[in-house]
Symmetry: C2
Subunit: 236 residues, 2 copies
């Protein structure tokens, strides 16, 4: 059994963003990331300063925990992080699929893995300039290639400012066949500080207004519902 490095497993809750927004989901959040986005909202799964909080678990222990949380009722399991593409989920997906569970994975598209091809949903979220990272499009294309056979492949881009927005448009033009989801960036990532829902609405409106002013009717524009519901609290 593969070993997996896990920051947290939690749920069921609803998926708060993107293509599966509203979908009942158990999250398997892996520890470790090849990126260091300036505005990362999951540093506890990224920064090696938190490494001692990550559990090294055999795949069957992860699968037991997913079944315990969902009480054996099949639902969507979201592999997130950190960057889950660092690790090997082949066995977890096989165990879950055998029981009717579905698997989504969210990754920036920097590392391709063969198990992308058996996912139900692959969300590739290339990071815009405000992240401080630079996308390697060759690696991104390798992810698309590896995902051939996946149920659905979509692209999600977080937009913090006008520069990110222009970058998102150019990225969309590169991949006209990928369904595109935009979401406004969230700088209020402290789990201890309550989020103002009006602020969330205002940022969404800003992004909706931009796409409409440009007659850019390609992306679906969505908020982070989990932030509306729970602020930046962990484990929901």
């Amino acid at each position: 059994m593969s070993q997996l490095r896990i920051a947290e497993i939690f749920g069921p809750t609803i998926q708060g963003e993107g293509a599966l927004i509203g979908e009942p989901t158990v999250f398997v959040r892996t520890g470790g990331c090849d990126y260091r986005c300036t505005w990362c909202d999951s540093l506890h799964a990224v920064d090696t300063a938190y490494r001692q909080t990550w559990a090294v678990m055999p795949t069957d222990a992860v699968w037991q925990e997913v079944q315990r949380l969902s009480k054996g009722n099949p639902l969507t399991v979201s592999l997130s992080g950190g960057n889950p593409a660092i690790q090997d989920f082949t066995q977890l997906i096989a165990l879950g699929h055998a029981k009717g569970y579905r698997f989504a994975c969210e990754t920036q598209g920097s590392i391709a893995k063969p198990w992308f091809s058996v996912l139900d949903t692959l969300v590739l979220s290339p990071k815009p300039p405000s992240s401080g990272e630079t996308v390697d499009w060759t690696a991104f294309n390798a992810c698309l290639q590896a995902a051939t056979g996946a149920g659905k492949i979509v692209m999600k881009i977080v937009v913090f400012d006008d520069t990110d927005y222009a970058w998102a448009r150019a990225a969309a033009d590169k991949y006209p066949d990928l369904p595109l989801y935009l979401q406004p960036g969230n700088l209020e990532v402290d789990p201890e500080i309550a989020v103002d829902p009006q602020n969330l609405a205002d940022k969404l409106l800003w992004l909706v207004d931009k796409t409409i002013a440009d007659n850019w009717f390609v992306p679906r524009v969505l908020p982070q519902l989990h932030v509306l519901l729970w602020g930046n609290k962990r484990g929901v």
Copy 2:
């Protein structure tokens, strides 16, 4: 050309709810409805007291208006109401499809129409007990039958209270193959009164918590984003 009775045509904006949440959309809201839901949020398109505000337009005038609003850029056109299934959208859909537009229709499922089969998305939203209406499931089944060939058929149920919730579960059991979307009901429908986003979040949380407490992982649970963004203002 068919004549259409139109309450309003507006957009582009984003679809605020259901399967196409976040999708850039022009809304064609028809006038007239065979239902009188107690909590209707679109009485101006339902109550015959507003009948003099509805325009009778030939289909090509509706199509011209959709093109003008979208500046000729293809997007999703949502046929809503009232109950759009009272009318004949065959020609509008054909005109739009020829230019790459997509068509979604939202109806309670009380009247079946042949043009359901050429829709890209049919949203059937049977009304729960709190509406004061009673669903005719024979008519609902006829809608499903008429929609054979449509791109996607989904069910959406608004839930105001525990009785509605139990009813939604039973309806879902009847149609296990229909993707299901639940949304909390909205009683604050006065366009003049500002909506409290925290209240919207609280109602969503109530519904999310219910489905999860019951290990009912079938429906996607979503809010009305347009209410978060614009309250109950019309034309957005």
